[in-house]
Amino acid sequence: MEKTWNNKAWFMVLPVLVLVAFSAVIPLMTVVNYSVQDTFGNNEFFWAGTDWFLDVLESDRFWDALTRNLIFSAIILAIEIPLGIVIALNMPKKGIGVPICLVLMALPLLIPWNVVGTIWQVFGRVDIGLLGRTLATLGINYNYVQNPLDAWVTLIIMDVWHWTSLVVLLCYAGLVSIPDAYYQAAKIDGASRWSVFRYIQLPKMKRVLLIAFLLRFMDSFMIYTEPFVVTGGGPGNSTTFLSIDLVKMAIGQFDLGPAAALSIIYFLIILLLSWIFYTVMTTSDAQG
């Protein structure tokens, strides 16, 4: 069927444009304006040009936090995507087990981020936490307050616990949409379990996996609340991600100009990486 072009349909998009203007464009414009000026409050601003951008680009603090962010996102994606697929493949497709599994999977997603942080902060404490006390009893020297590696492990396990469910639910939605005829044809052909996964299930999950991958990347790259509650960016600066550094700069130090410059660079990096991921995955989808 031939597509009908009707440019008047663009007017239907106007309400969304107005909404986005108020929620995103105007704040973004303000951040750009702040990034080239200095202020001491009282709505008075002084021109600073590109000084704040230069400060940010030349600071080790920025590059260290960016590196931590990239490592954290890479680890999260490397764990959550395969784990989510494995769990989704093993979930029941029929019977009473389906609603039980779906509710169990949805539970971590319903918990507010700061509550998740608080749960894991208490859970990991060596003096009163179930995890901390158990590990101490087993003779494992675990202390996320003092040891950077322990802090990282705690944050990664917390994020996996919190967000793998999202990947599972998306993959599961992709899996249940596969018609039985595909499986029947594979059975007649004597296809192995791996072949069914490789040639039927994985291609059918590609689109939902793209969404899961992008959502988890953007969210893990912008993570703030959970690490802030659990470690506060420590020990030292070992878990200070860009978002935590940004808040420290903007609210803690009231350096609005440098914070605005950092925000814009942060935004551009997320935009670039998301675009690359999206393009690579949609292109391979179109070719495959």
Binding site: W5, N7, I26, M29, T30, V32, N33, Y34, V36, Q37, T39, N43, F45, W47, G49, T50, D51, F53, L54, L57, E58, I265, L268, L271, L272, W275, T279, T283, A286
Partner: protein
């Protein structure tokens, strides 16, 4: 309405005006020639002219940041490089 809290300056206003004019221009272009002119360029995947504008703007932002970090604060050369880059994107991508 008082927009002084947005801390407008002439350079940032001109910057956003330029972006708005580009988007308006793209709208007019789309009206005159609908469909987005999709094609496969040197990156070996299909792009519309909207994609090419996005790639041009995003790339220009990084050209400016790289110039600022590696060369210095005089960004006129970075702007010239960005224009050449954008022409290249619209021509070959």
């Amino acid at each position: 309405m008082d927009f002084s809290w947005m801390a407008w300056t002439l350079p940032t206003a001109l910057f956003f005006l330029t972006i708005a004019l580009m988007l308006f221009g793209m709208g007019v272009w789309e009206y005159v020639s609908p469909g987005g002119n999709p094609r496969v360029g040197i990156l070996r995947f299909e792009t519309t002219r909207g994609d090419r504008l996005f790639v041009s703007l995003l790339g220009s932002a990084f050209i400016h940041l790289a110039w600022l970090g590696l060369v210095g604060a005089n960004l006129w050369w970075a702007l010239a490089l960005s224009v050449i880059y954008a022409i290249g994107v619209f021509r070959y991508v």
